[in-house]
Symmetry: C2
Subunit: 180 residues, 2 copies
DNA sequence: GGATGGAATTAACAAAAGATAAGAAAGCAG
DNA sequence: CTGCTTTCTTATCTTTTGTTAATTCCATCC
């Protein structure tokens, strides 16, 4: 990786800190920015018709997040992205990142391998677990795959991410522990 | 889009026809090829411990498919990709496509917008439907989003894709029709 | 330390889904 | 067209999940 590549990247990136509860992306936002979490924990969520908050995903350090609705569908964000822990993030506009990666093959390669690939892996594995596994297996896999999240976020968030209710997750945990 | 871009793309692409039942990608394959379906219908599936075939996804014309396990995880394919209808596909090796798109900004842009973007949209919407919707809503959304698949593939395939059993899907269809 | 509020567990009931099997319907091959 | 195979539906029963609410647990604030 050439020094020049990194320099051109650094010039476009800014760093920002978020207190617990602060928003990285608000609902309705159309901003297309890529956030790379350097430290902390972020959750994305929305409010359903019954006025319950449903957590869609949890992003710990070394993960990237984007306003997915703006990016993919040119719609305002359905989700709120909120720092659940004090968080430090690198931020770059999506256009700038595309511009940079188009003009610099090192950055293109890096982006493909470490940003895009990782996000795609996660979302694919998530679909795979919904199709191929029971909620119980899904929870056990989540614990294995994301041990760095389990003890930092409330179970009710995890339950939402797994597509079940907090009550059901509690029962699953009970079943698992009595089985062993 | 420059003529030269298209020419360099065409030179690397080959076209192939598959009879009904023929395999585009076999289980265990590590080939990294991108298939663009020009005509027909392909399904990916695997066999679970009870020796039932579980359909993971259905790919109609104008969709791209890849050996996702090889591409993302450097593992042999867990899935079989089989033509459910007589199918015509354009095929290009993943490396060749990366090579081409790295060196040609037109192709990079085209790939980002029409291949990667579309696949990402679909997989994201699928996760969203698992987290945010009930099986019944999920089915109704699937009918709306993929009317060109519904009447071409057996319901048991659709059920698998939606993460439910064929029996359950039948009941859901019954509930919906009696409701209206 | 005691009070407060949110989260997790538990309970009770209703609704839905899984499993299995049998019957009806539809598709396919000869 | 006929017979055969597969798929779809329906039924029964069991298991799991959703819903609501009560209770326990735990962390935090004063």
């Amino acid at each position: 990786m050439k020094i020049r590549s990194l320099l051109s990247l650094f010039r476009s990136v800014r760093i920002k800190k978020f207190d617990k509860g602060e928003l990285l992306i608000n609902q309705g936002s159309t901003e297309k920015e890529v956030f790379f979490i350097r430290k902390g924990l972020v959750r994305s969520y929305y409010t359903n018709k019954k006025l319950e908050d449903i957590t869609f995903q949890l992003y710990p350090e070394y993960n990237a997040l984007v306003n997915i609705h703006a990016l993919l569908f040119d719609e305002p964000s359905k989700f709120i992205y909120e720092a659940y822990e004090p968080t430090k993030a690198y931020i770059i506009s999506y256009e700038a990142l595309m511009e940079l990666t188009s003009k610099n093959s090192d950055l293109l390669e890096m982006n493909r391998r470490f940003i895009g690939r990782k996000a795609l892996k996660q979302v694919f594995q998530r679909v795979e677990s919904f199709v191929c596994q029971s909620p119980e297996e899904r929870y056990e896999k989540y614990v294995r795959d994301y041990p760095n999240i389990i003890n930092r976020a409330p179970d009710k968030y995890i339950a939402n991410v797994l597509g079940i209710t907090p009550v059901s997750l509690s029962r699953i945990r009970n079943r698992i522990s009595t089985k062993k």
